[in-house]
C-alpha cells in the first residue's frame, strides 16, 4: 500500500432512517452514498458542496462517529469499523474534529481549562501537573493566554472560542483533523486569523486536514486537493488547480462560477442553475444532478455516472467527461 496515504475511504454509505421505529414503511436519507477517496499524509483535502449534501456526515463517518451502512474507512491500514472498543478509543487520539460553530462545540458549563483537560482525562494521560503544562502549551500554540483558562466559553469571542476548539483537537497529537466549516461562523476579519493558524499548525505538526466548507474561496486558499459533493455523492475530485481552473463536472463549474468575486473591473459570466437542490430523501434517478444540469442528455436521467479518472489525479462523475 502507498505509504503516503493516511486514510482510505472505500464505498462509504451512510443512510439515516427518517420514519419512526414503529413504522412499516422505512424511509432513508442517503446522506452519503457510495463515496470513495484517499487522504494523503500532510495534505489538506477540501470538501465542498451545498447545504445538506452530506459533507458533515461524511466527515463524521470517517471519524467513526456514525456507523455506516456499508464501506470501509482504513486508517493507517486498519478498518476503523472493525476495531474493538478499546482499540477504537486508542484510534480516537489520532483523529480529531473541529466544528463550524465555536459556541456550540464548547460545553457552556465548563471552563476552558476543564474543556482542554477533558481529552487527557478521558485517555488518562499524564499527571495533573503534566496536564497543566500541556494545556498551557496548547494555549500558547493557538495564541491564547493563560488567563483565558479560567473563563467560560461565553466570555470569549468567536475567534477565541474557535482557537479553543482547535487546541482541544490538537491535545492528543492527532494525525488527522476533520475541519467541519471551521471559519463559516466567524467574522471576516477573524476568519483570516483562524485560517492562518490552521496553516501554521499543519506545517508545524505535519497534520492532515479534511477541510469541509461551502466557501470556495477559502477552500481554494487552504486546500491542496478538493472534492465536490452533490446529494451524497462525490462528483469531482482533483488537486485545487484542476478543480478551479479546469473544472469538469457541470455542477462544479456552476459552483465555482457562483463565487462572488472582489474584482470590480473583471466581471465574469456565471453559470446559473435553475431550480432547487432536490431532497436527499428522494434523489433523482440516474445522475443526481440531471434535474438542474445545463448540459444534460437523455442518458443522464437513467444511467448513473461513476467517478472516473479523467486526467491523472482528476476524477469526475459525469457522462460528458
Amino acid at each position: 500500500m502507498d505509504d503516503s496515504v493516511l486514510v482510505q475511504v472505500q464505498n462509504l454509505k451512510m443512510y439515516f432512517q427518517t420514519e419512526g421505529s414503529f413504522s412499516f414503511s422505512k424511509k432513508y436519507i442517503k446522506a452519503v452514498d457510495d463515496v470513495s477517496f484517499n487522504l494523503f499524509k500532510g495534505e489538506t483535502f477540501g470538501l465542498v458542496g451545498e447545504s445538506g449534501c452530506g459533507k458533515s456526515t461524511l466527515g463524521r463517518t470517517v471519524l467513526g462517529l456514525y456507523k455506516p451502512n456499508a464501506g470501509k474507512v482504513i486508517f493507517e491500514g486498519e478498518n476503523i469499523f472493525s476495531l474493538k472498543n478499546k482499540r477504537m478509543k486508542e484510534m480516537r487520539k489520532k483523529m480529531q474534529l473541529i466544528f463550524q460553530d465555536p459556541s456550540a462545540s464548547l460545553n457552556p458549563r465548563k471552563t476552558i481549562a476543564d474543556i482542554l483537560n477533558e481529552p487527557f482525562h478521558i485517555h488518562q494521560v499524564g499527571t495533573m501537573t503534566e496536564r497543566k503544562g500541556k494545556i498551557k502549551d496548547l494555549m500558547d500554540r493557538v495564541g491564547l493566554s493563560e488567563y483565558h483558562l479560567s473563563r467560560y466559553p461565553h466570555e470569549m469571542s468567536g475567534g477565541q472560542k474557535q482557537r479553543v476548539g482547535i487546541a482541544r483537537a490538537l491535545a492528543l497529537n492527532p494525525k488527522l483533523i476533520i475541519c467541519d466549516e471551521p471559519v463559516s461562523a466567524l467574522d471576516v476579519s477573524i476568519q483570516a486569523q483562524v485560517i492562518n493558524l490552521l496553516e501554521d499548525l499543519q506545517k508545524e505538526y505535519d497534520l492532515t486536514y479534511l477541510f469541509i466548507s461551502h466557501n470556495l474561496s477559502v477552500v481554494h486558499h487552504i486546500c491542496n486537493r478538493v472534492g465536490v459533493m452533490y446529494l451524497g455523492k462525490l462528483v469531482e475530485t482533483g488537486n485545487h488547480e484542476d478543480i478551479y481552473r479546469n473544472t469538469l463536472h457541470p455542477y462544479a463549474k456552476a459552483l465555482i462560477s457562483a463565487i462572488p468575486h472582489t474584482d470590480p473591473d473583471n466581471p465574469k459570466d456565471r453559470i446559473l442553475l435553475r431550480g432547487d437542490v432536490p431532497s436527499p430523501a428522494n434523489p433523482p434517478s440516474g445522475c443526481r444532478f440531471h434535474t438542474r444540469c445545463p448540459e444534460r442528455t437523455d442518458l443522464c436521467s437513467h444511467a448513473e455516472p461513476q467517478l472516473k479518472e479523467v486526467f491523472p489525479g482528476h476524477f469526475a462523475a459525469c457522462h460528458l467527461c
Binding site: 451545498e50 471576516v188 483570516a192 485560517i195 470556495l216 486558499h221 472582489t262 474584482d263 473591473d265
Partner: protein, 339 residues
C-alpha cells in the same frame, strides 16, 4: 452640502444614533451615521457582525422596537423627514415607497398564511386594489421573480417552499408596490451558493427593471463588488469609510477597509499567507476612547486613542473616519470639521 445636492438624494440620513437600553446598560448600536443614496443607485453597506448594519436599515423603516430602542437623528426620504412624521404617515410609506427584504427567509414569512395572501397584503393595503387585481398582480410578481408554476405556489404555504423560493417570495412581496427604495438586509446569507447566485442575478435584473434605489447590506465584500455602485463600511456602529465602489476597492483609505479587503481569500489572488487584522471588535459596553478601531490599527497614533475622528470628505464622494486622512488633507482641528 448644497441644497440641490440634497434634492437629488432619494434618502439622506444624517447623524443617525440608535441606542438600546439593556440590562447591562445603555448600548449605542449606531453612532453618528450619515449616508445618502439617489434613485437608481445601489449602496452597499458592509461590516462585521454587530456593526449596526441591520439597525441602520431598521431605523429607516422605523422598525426599531421602542423600548428598548431609541432613534435620534434625521432621515430624509424624498425631502421629507421620516423622523418627524406621525407613525400613521410612516406606516403609509412603509411597504409602499420603502420596502425591505430580510435576511432570514425561513422565519420572515408568516407560516400560517399562503404565500399569495402575503404578497397581496401590501397591494390591498396601499394601492387599494381589489382582491382580483391584487391576485393578478401577485401572479405577475411571482413570475417576475422567476418562480415556476406561480398559480400553484400562490396557494402554498411558506414551509412547502425551499429557502431560495421563500426568499423570492420575500422579494416579490417587497417589490409589490414598486417601492422607490429597497432595503435588502443580507438577502442571500442564509442561502446556498448556487441559489445565492440565482438571487443576486435576479436582483440585478429587477434593479434594471424597476429603477429604484437599493441599499444592500451584507458582510460579504464579494456581493458588494458585484452589485453596488457605492459602498459604506461600518465598524462598531460607525461608518468608517464610504465612497464609489471601484475607488474604494482599489484604494481603501481606512485601515479597517484595507484589512478587510486583504484578509479575504479569493480565487483570483495567488495562494499566499492571508493578511490579518489582529484583535477583535471591541465590546459595545467597553468602547476604547478615541477611534474605535485604534486598538487593532497598525497605523495607530497617540491622537487616535484620545479623540474620535469625524467622517471627513476627502473628495466629493469619498469620506473616511480616520485621523491619518484628517492630517493628510491638513485638517487636524476638530472645529474646522464642523464648519
Amino acid at each position: 452640502m448644497s441644497d440641490d445636492l440634497l434634492d437629488k438624494d432619494l434618502l439622506r440620513i444624517s447623524n443617525l444614533n440608535v441606542q438600546f437600553r439593556t440590562s447591562e446598560g445603555v448600548f449605542k448600536a449606531v453612532r453618528d451615521v450619515s449616508i445618502s443614496i439617489r434613485s437608481g443607485e445601489t449602496l452597499g453597506i458592509v461590516g462585521e457582525s454587530g456593526s449596526g448594519k441591520s439597525v441602520t436599515a431598521l431605523s429607516i423603516m422605523n422598525l426599531i422596537p421602542n423600548p428598548p430602542g431609541e432613534i435620534k437623528g434625521d432621515i430624509f426620504f424624498n425631502g421629507q423627514n421620516l423622523r418627524e412624521m406621525s407613525p400613521e404617515e410612516v406606516r403609509k410609506v412603509r411597504g409602499n415607497e420603502i420596502s425591505m427584504i430580510f435576511q432570514e427567509p425561513m422565519t420572515s414569512l408568516n407560516p400560517i398564511h399562503t404565500c399569495g395572501k402575503q404578497i397581496m397584503e401590501p397591494l390591498l393595503l396601499h394601492k387599494g386594489f381589489t382582491k382580483h387585481e391584487a391576485k393578478a398582480r401577485s401572479l405577475e410578481l411571482l413570475k417576475m421573480v422567476g418562480i415556476p408554476l406561480p398559480e400553484q405556489r400562490f396557494k402554498e404555504y411558506p414551509h412547502q417552499l425551499s429557502g431560495g423560493m421563500r426568499q423570492r417570495i420575500m422579494i416579490a412581496m417587497a417589490l409589490a408596490c414598486r417601492p422607490k427604495l429597497l432595503l435588502a438586509d443580507e438577502p442571500t446569507t442564509a442561502l446556498d451558493v448556487t441559489i445565492q447566485a440565482q438571487i443576486l442575478e435576479l436582483m440585478k435584473n429587477l434593479r434594471n427593471e424597476i429603477d429604484s434605489a437599493i441599499i444592500m447590506i451584507t458582510h460579504d465584500l464579494g456581493i458588494i463588488t458585484e452589485m453596488c455602485h457605492s459602498v459604506a463600511v461600518m465598524y462598531a456602529g460607525q461608518v468608517v469609510e464610504s465612497g464609489p465602489l471601484k475607488e474604494l476597492i482599489r484604494e481603501p483609505l481606512h485601515p479597517y477597509t484595507e484589512g478587510l479587503l486583504r484578509s479575504i481569500p479569493t480565487i483570483t489572488k495567488e495562494k499566499q499567507r492571508l493578511y490579518t487584522i489582529d484583535g477583535t471588535v471591541p465590546s459595545p459596553f467597553n468602547m476604547p476612547p478615541g477611534c474605535s478601531f485604534q486598538p487593532r490599527c497598525k497605523y495607530s497614533n497617540p491622537i487616535c486613542s484620545e479623540q474620535t475622528p469625524d467622517l471627513i470628505h476627502v473628495s466629493e464622494e469619498r469620506a473616511v473616519r480616520c485621523w491619518r486622512h484628517a492630517e493628510n488633507i491638513g485638517i487636524g482641528n476638530r472645529s474646522v470639521l464642523h464648519g
